[in-house]
């Protein structure tokens, strides 16, 4: 009995304490609630953007190139939209697992929107995190179709899918062959064996047989490791096909290795043409290969140098990176800058960094003044911008030059290209 009475007394005592605590908590809560809107409004003026890029590892040069686009964004966006953007940078180390964990960490550290990551495999991993945590994710560059085909509600992509890339790239090949009165009969398809490369391969396999306006057929398809130390066997195998030209889906390092090996093995195909992959228009490609970088052709989304926004970006870029030229980073800087712009524009309209509200606002995006060639930035129900065009870029004199479409051309295309031994 005594024990029971003690328990009851204790219970009563606890209840009194609880009452007092609850009262104090309620008072504190009321004070906090009266102050909270002001604090919240103050915090809401700054959008925290988590930028995920492969700044180290195999894709380091491209990741660092993209990072420049993010770095110039806060200043320009403040001028354009009056929105303060705070960047929270993270290195994905060219590793899908690292990309996933860095995305988690950025969100834990307060990132309100994610941007990146120049890699399809990493993009899929980050999209899953963004979906779970309900934080919007704007893909800067990544082409695998499944990124916007899995029903993610928080993922948006202002970059073509590999199907669109290849469709646009092959259409430009027709224009290239018409413009140069060429009719190559055969091509060997070489592609990097990662998520992006495989997506491109599937697109090429699906689309190419249906295009009766292209004169060539594929005689072989050769895939290779994206981190390959040596491509001598792959090039020997391609050389044995005696194809007229190489259809190449590459990254940067492997594109450099491939050209070096072509020179060593003294095989000069009529051209190396990318239907929409990075590598051959990157600054490092020109630096590493010198005269051998010339005449490589990339059919890729590109920037419009004459657009007003391009000129503002160019000015900001030159000021912040005086040793660099925008033309060597145009695609990476352009799409990364636009991705941050999409997030900031949505934040301005939504007036809150809340994930669901931001995602809704991104869905309503309509940005007409842009840097990259194509229609306004708008997203379909899947979160995909379908209005991005490609241009045919040919390396000439150590820099990328637009050769097609005709209305944007800075020079006439050259095909077949001079052999390795015929270059200065």
């Amino acid at each position: 009995m005594n024990a029971r009475a003690d328990n009851e007394e204790e219970t009563m005592t606890v209840n009194r304490r609880q009452f007092n605590r609850a009262g104090a908590a309620a008072l504190g809560g009321a004070v906090a609630a009266s102050v909270a809107p002001a604090v919240s409004r103050a915090q809401n003026r700054v959008l925290k953007v988590g930028v995920l890029l492969p700044r180290s590892g195999v894709q380091a040069f491209i990741g660092q190139s993209c990072q420049m686009g993010a770095d110039i964004a806060p200043g320009l966006i403040k001028q354009m939209l009056g929105v303060d953007v705070e960047l929270m940078n993270a290195d994905t180390e060219t590793n899908v697992d690292v990309a996933r964990s860095r995305a988690e960490k950025l969100i834990n550290d307060g990132a309100q929107v994610l941007v990146g990551p120049f890699d399809s495999g990493a993009a899929i991993a980050i999209a899953q995190v963004a979906e779970q945590r309900r934080v919007p994710f704007v893909v800067n560059i990544a082409a695998a179709p499944q990124i916007t085909e899995q029903g993610f509600r928080y993922t948006f992509r202002n970059f073509p899918t590999s199907v669109d890339l290849v469709t646009n790239g092959l259409a430009l090949m027709r224009d290239l062959f018409q413009a140069t009165s060429a009719a190559p009969r055969t091509a060997v398809f070489m592609h990097v064996n990662d998520t992006f490369g495989q997506a491109n391969r599937r697109a090429v396999d699906a689309i190419l047989p249906k295009l009766n306006f292209l004169p060539f057929r594929l005689v072989d398809t050769i895939s290779y490791d994206p981190a390959a130390r040596d491509l001598s066997v792959e090039v020997a195998k391609a050389k044995a096909t005696n194809a007229d030209f190489i259809l190449l889906v590459s990254r940067l390092n492997d594109a450099i290795l491939l050209v070096r090996e072509l020179v060593k093995q003294r095989w000069s195909p009529q051209a190396i043409i990318s239907p929409g992959s990075p590598g051959m228009y990157e600054a490092q490609f020109y630096k590493a290969l010198g005269k051998f970088s010339d005449h490589c052709i990339s059919n890729v989304p590109w920037y419009d140098p004459k657009a007003a926004l391009s000129q503002r970006v160019d000015a900001a870029f030159s000021k912040q990176f005086p040793k660099e030229k925008l033309m060597f980073h145009a695609l990476n800087v352009g799409f990364t800058f636009e991705a941050v712009l999409v997030a900031a524009d949505a934040f301005r309209r939504a007036g809150t960094p809340d994930g669901a509200a931001l995602a809704d606002a991104i869905r309503q995006t309509s940005i007409t003044e842009r840097m990259m060639i194509g229609g306004p930035i708008r997203f379909d129900a899947k979160g995909q911008n379908t209005q991005i065009a490609s241009a045919c870029i040919q390396n000439r004199g150590g820099q990328p030059v637009v050769v097609l479409p005709r209305q944007a051309a800075q020079a006439a295309p050259v095909y077949p290209v001079p052999g390795w031994q015929q270059r200065g």
């Binding site: 895939s223 792959e234 020997a236 590493a288």
Partner: protein, 290 residues
């Protein structure tokens, strides 16, 4: 597939395999005498590659001119490492040795990351894109040079072990440790010299390999794995086995890439490893345990 292409690919694999063989030779020599498996082998080679990259970037020195200084420096490094760090672990259980050398490997990888960052670095010498035309063969000049230097280094090492008194003393330690101690050989010193020779081999291999491939701090573990595959196939502790294993891996990877698919290159190496472990566990040139 044209025969000419097959021959070219075989030649390319053979030449690269000789450099791989030199790399693995260091590992094999150290195990054959000191009975320590150097789990930091590839990481030491990555350090040598960075030394060559720095010399080229700072002073424009061709990695081939760096062979002797790097080999000398690595000889000293190997001697100090063995006498100062590894020797106390000689009598300890194998897992202690494993942990020690794994720790050394981790320190080297992270030290390189701190010093140079994670980006790939390479050396582009003037003759990097040149080739020799020999009948139907078109052979990469850099590979020919690297293979020739690797062969010469192996021959020198064989000669040291075969014809010098100190080489014979080292072999005595390997063949009969008790006998070597009885006749008064300074075993600790000879072990350190052996480790130094193995490390010098790695230094030379690093200077050569930097002409063939880019280097990153994380290249080390991949080279360690490759060296292990080679010495296990050739026979742990066997010098000719290491060289033959390197050539076998080089050629088989090249042929697999050509005749099957380039993605199958590594698969073939490991398939060979499994076949050797199953059918001839002592390796192709190794002596069976008695």
């Amino acid at each position: 597939m044209p025969l000419e292409t097959v021959l070219n690919v075989v030649a390319s694999g053979l030449l690269a395999g000789l450099v791989y063989g030199l790399m693995a030779l260091g590992l094999s020599v150290i195990y054959g005498v000191v009975r320590i498996v150097n789990f930091a082998h590839g990481e030491l080679m990555a350090v040598a590659m960075y030394a060559a990259v720095i010399a080229f970037a700072a002073w424009g020195v061709d990695p081939l001119w760096m062979l002797v200084p790097v080999a000398a420096a690595f000889f000293g490094l190997g001697y100090v490492l063995q006498r100062g760090l590894i020797n106390p672990f000689i009598e300890r259980p194998e897992h202690s040795q494993f942990m020690l050398l794994l720790a050394v490997a981790l320190i080297l990888v992270n030290g390189l990351l701190v010093a140079f960052g994670p980006d790939a670095r390479n050396v582009q010498v003037d003759y990097a894109l040149e080739s020799y035309e020999i009948g139907p063969l078109l052979v990469d000049k850099v590979r020919v040079i690297c293979a020739a230097v690797a062969l010469a280094t192996c021959a020198l090492l064989f000669a040291v072990f075969r014809f010098t008194a100190f080489g014979k003393a080292i072999r005595a330690c390997a063949d009969n440790l008790l006998g070597a101690q009885v006749v008064g050989l300074n075993v600790s010193h000879l072990y350190a010299l052996t480790f130094a020779l193995g490390t010098a081999c790695v230094g030379v291999a690093g200077c050569l390999l930097v002409l063939l491939a880019d280097v990153t701090p994380n290249s080390g573990p991949a080279f360690t794995l490759l060296a292990f595959v080679i010495v296990i196939i050739g026979g742990l502790g066997s010098m000719p086995g290491a060289l033959a294993g390197g050539v076998l891996i080089g050629v088989s990877e090249a042929l697999a890439g050509l005749l099957i698919t380039p993605s199958a290159k590594s698969m073939i190496s490991f398939a060979l490893l499994i076949a050797v472990l199953a059918l001839r566990p002592q390796g192709l040139f190794g002596r069976a345990a008695r």
